[in-house]
């Protein structure tokens, strides 16, 4: 089990979550395409696969088979740990 805080401590993994929040249920190939095309990240598929494993281990990404392809979904539930620990407050201007 990887801790949520460690999983988020990496810009590539944050970009993967950004792309999944734009549209959920993407394949590894699609995530590789987006990281290259939109973010100029030239990582190998193996490296991106390992980042996805870290996110899955933290419970932030779920992989589901739809037909024969594996699609990745962003699960925001573990993020509640952050606000549970440090509740956010609306900042009121003086």
């Amino acid at each position: 089990m990887v801790d949520v805080f460690r999983a988020l401590d990496d810009e590539t993994r944050r970009l993967i979550l950004d792309e999944l929040s734009v549209r959920d249920g993407r394949t590894l190939f699609e995530i590789c395409t987006l990281l290259l095309a939109r973010h100029g990240r030239t990582l190998t598929r193996q490296a991106i696969s390992q980042h996805l494993e870290v996110l899955q281990s933290a419970g932030l990404v779920r992989a589901e088979r739809r037909g024969r392809a594996k699609h990745h979904y962003f699960d925001t539930a573990p993020l509640a740990q952050i606000t549970a620990r440090w509740p956010t407050t609306e900042r009121t201007d003086p």
Partner: protein
């Protein structure tokens, strides 16, 4: 040297011929019976003298694990050029074709990935004019 023929493995040649001709719009080029299978190729009507695509039986034991692993990760095994990926996505979706990746702008091109129902993913690409 030029590329005259390339191939995709297909689960069933008859079903593959239907998909690659009736749905995608290629035309049958050679269909030579060879025992239980055929030497079966299609070409694009836009370039009938261009490269042939061989629809090759997927019976070899190495084929299934290879294709299953690529399919699981969403990796296409072939790429076809089209004029307009969005238009093809609309046309093919209306015929029941499943896309694992919708049309996506990747800067120099628009791409999408579809399931060919024969065990492969295929990427469609429309390159943008330079400049």
């Amino acid at each position: 040297m030029r590329i005259a023929l390339t191939s995709v493995f297909v689960d069933d040649q008859k079903a593959a011929l239907r998909f690659y001709t009736d749905v995608l719009g290629f035309v049958e080029h050679r269909n030579v019976p060879l025992g239980e299978h055929s030497w079966l190729t299609v070409v694009s009507p836009e370039s009938p003298d261009g490269p042939e695509l061989l629809l090759e039986p997927a019976g070899h034991p190495a084929v299934q694990p290879y294709r299953d692993a690529l399919m699981a990760d969403g990796i296409p095994l072939a790429q076809f050029a089209v004029a307009d990926v969005h238009a093809e996505h609309a046309r093919l979706t209306a015929q029941g074709v499943v896309f694992t990746q919708p049309p996506t702008d990747v800067g120099m091109a628009v791409v999408a990935v579809l399931d060919d129902t024969c065990g492969n993913l295929v990427q469609l690409i429309a390159e943008k004019p330079a400049g």
